[in-house]
């Protein structure tokens, strides 16, 4: 720590113009990282608006962004209800995937035979497109909510399972020996060695699973929606499509994207907070 601090001081006294220029460039990049994407987004929306106006495109083909925003407000009562439904399925599936994926991974490390027996099923579930399984699930499961949850879970749980399994197996061999030497029991090895070692991998899996849970929920809703039940955002898109209510389709789409972004950012933050003290991925390096 002391070494890092003294290096810092040397940098800030600024004897070296090259270092100063580098520091300025770094500061510019830091601000630019947040500002530039918004500027580009604003330009894109402006161009979208102009293209609609210049080409005289009717709103039932491509609405102007202003109209989409207006629809978001006027249809908020319907859209927000659907948003809540989609969120319920997404987070429910993510929670079950987290518990199930991590739990199964822990079970795998406790017994090779359980891993050998069950892992192929996990792979089969993962490689079979959920949209192909969904109709069957809707036939066998009476409750739509439960069926949606199952579909979203199937998509979300695999990255957590495989990442956590990898993490649990990646604990330092010498540390394993050390735990053995000091007479640690199974539970202590799991709690004090395997789980902390697996944490970065698990969090990486969770970040992927968060996005996939949303995708799973939406795909399942499309399947359920076409069967005539369900009221999530995907169903709103289908319904609005039948009615040529294109602005509402866009509004629902924006809500789905925003949900995905918020999920990703929250999980990234969670990962940063959990790892910042010790893991290389979360620590800033001074050069």
């Amino acid at each position: 720590m002391k070494k890092i601090r003294s290096a810092n001081i040397a940098g800030s006294t600024g004897a070296d113009p090259q270092e100063l220029a580098r520091a300025r460039a770094a500061a510019r990049e830091k601000i630019g990282r947040y500002v530039v994407p918004f500027v580009i987004l604003a330009i894109a929306i402006f161009l979208w608006d102009r293209i609609v106006v210049w080409n005289d495109i009717p709103h039932y083909i491509l609405p102007r962004p202003g109209l989409v925003a207006k629809t978001l407000v006027t249809d908020w009562a319907i859209l927000s209800e659907s948003l809540v439904n989609t969120l319920k399925i997404t987070f429910g599936a993510l929670a079950v995937a987290t518990i199930g994926g991590a739990g199964l991974a822990i079970l795998f490390t406790q017994s090779k035979w359980i891993e050998i027996s069950l892992f192929p099923f996990a792979v089969i579930l993962q490689v079979t497109p959920v949209i192909a399984i969904a109709p069957l699930i809707f036939i066998y499961v009476d409750s739509t909510a439960v069926a949606l949850l199952i579909c979203a879970w199937i998509v979300a749980f695999f990255p957590i399972l495989s990442n956590t399994t990898l993490g649990l197996n990646s604990a330092d061999h010498n540390l394993h020996d050390l735990f053995r030497l000091y007479g640690a029991n199974r539970w202590q090895v799991l709690w004090r060695l395997l789980l902390p070692a697996a944490m970065p991998y698990f969090l990486g899996g969770l970040k992927i699973a968060g996005g996939l849970a949303l995708i799973g929920a939406i795909v399942a809703e499309f399947t359920a929606g076409s069967a005539g039940s369900g009221s999530g955002l995907a169903f709103r898109i289908l319904e609005a499509g039948y009615r040529l209510n294109i602005p509402r389709m866009f509004a629902a789409l924006i809500l789905i994207s925003a949900t995905g972004i918020v999920i990703f950012m929250s999980l990234s933050l969670l990962s940063h907070l959990m790892l910042r003290k010790w893991h290389e991925s979360a620590t800033r390096r001074e050069r």
Partner: protein, 281 residues
């Protein structure tokens, strides 16, 4: 600390743990052999008796089975043939409680602070953080790391990490310390410093140390006795007593006697390696 190098201090027998019989060996290996499942004979007919309070180095080329021998002594591997005796141990049921192991790498848990890492052996025995605090702090003071309890391993230099590893080994107050090339990855300055620290800890705490190394200079500087090993299959080639008084310091390191011992050990090692290449093909 011994003030004057007596005959006992020379052989290291003066600094024995209270209650153990100095003349009796702590651990004896009888005709120990180890053959791995792929057919590699790592050890063949290894005989070794380590007396209480001794500082013994196992010196040899890579592949001579010195690390394997250390793991077998630690109970981390079983010998294929032969056996191990713990004659002076009252805890015949589980001698492991009395052993500490220092690996070549610091082998710290990156997610735990220095305190948490040193606390680990005690925690695994169910001793809480509060109850272990004095012991952990004492161990950290012993290795010169007071004030670093809350640091994370990644914030420390290589030498400091190794010190944490040593603190973790001594927090259980072991009577036998096994070290597997602990300083091989360090620069020479840090290595010399840690050599001195280990020697003074050994003298003040009354350990028995089995030290694996491939450095002739390190083994001569530290040990009462050097076991020179030959490879393929791993076996004892020669035993050399280093008859020089402790405490040893930089003066010893630059003395003619030290140089002489280094030459003798070096020759023995060369011969051991010749024998090895002669039989291997």
């Amino acid at each position: 600390m011994p003030s004057e190098p007596t005959r006992e201090a020379i052989t290291g027998l003066a600094e024995t743990p209270v209650g153990t019989n100095a003349s009796r060996p702590v651990v004896t290996l009888h005709n120990v052999g180890k053959t791995f499942s792929n057919g590699t004979v790592a050890l063949d007919d290894l005989n070794l008796a380590v007396r209480a309070g001794e500082f013994v180095s196992l010196l040899g080329p890579s592949g001579c089975g010195k690390s394997t021998a250390l793991k077998i002594i630690a109970g981390l591997g079983n010998p294929s043939t032969g056996g191990i005796d713990w004659p002076s141990e009252q805890v015949a049921s589980d001698h492991r409680h009395d052993i500490s192991f220092v690996f070549q790498e610091p082998t710290l848990m990156p997610w735990a602070t220095v305190f948490g890492n040193v606390h680990l052996p005690l925690r695994l025995k169910g001793i809480s953080k509060a109850a272990a605090r004095t012991d952990v702090e004492k161990a950290l003071t012993n290795v010169g790391l007071e004030g670093f309890a809350d640091a994370y391993p990644r914030e420390l230099s290589g030498g400091m990490k190794m010190r944490v590893s040593i603190a973790r080994a001594l927090v259980t107050r072991p009577s036998l310390l096994l070290m597997d090339e602990p300083f091989a990855a360090l620069d020479e300055i840090n290595r010399f410093k840690l050599n001195n620290d280990i020697l003074s800890l050994w003298q003040s705490l009354g350990w028995t140390v089995i030290f694996v190394t491939h450095s002739v200079f390190e083994s001569v500087y530290l040990s009462n006795r050097i076991i020179v090993m030959a490879a393929r299959p791993g076996r004892v080639y020669r035993e050399i007593e280093i008859d020089a008084p402790y405490p040893r310091d930089e003066e010893f390191r630059t003395s003619a006697r030290y140089a002489e011992y280094c030459r003798e050990v070096s020759h023995a090692l060369q011969e051991a390696m010749k024998v090895d290449s002669g039989t291997a093909q």
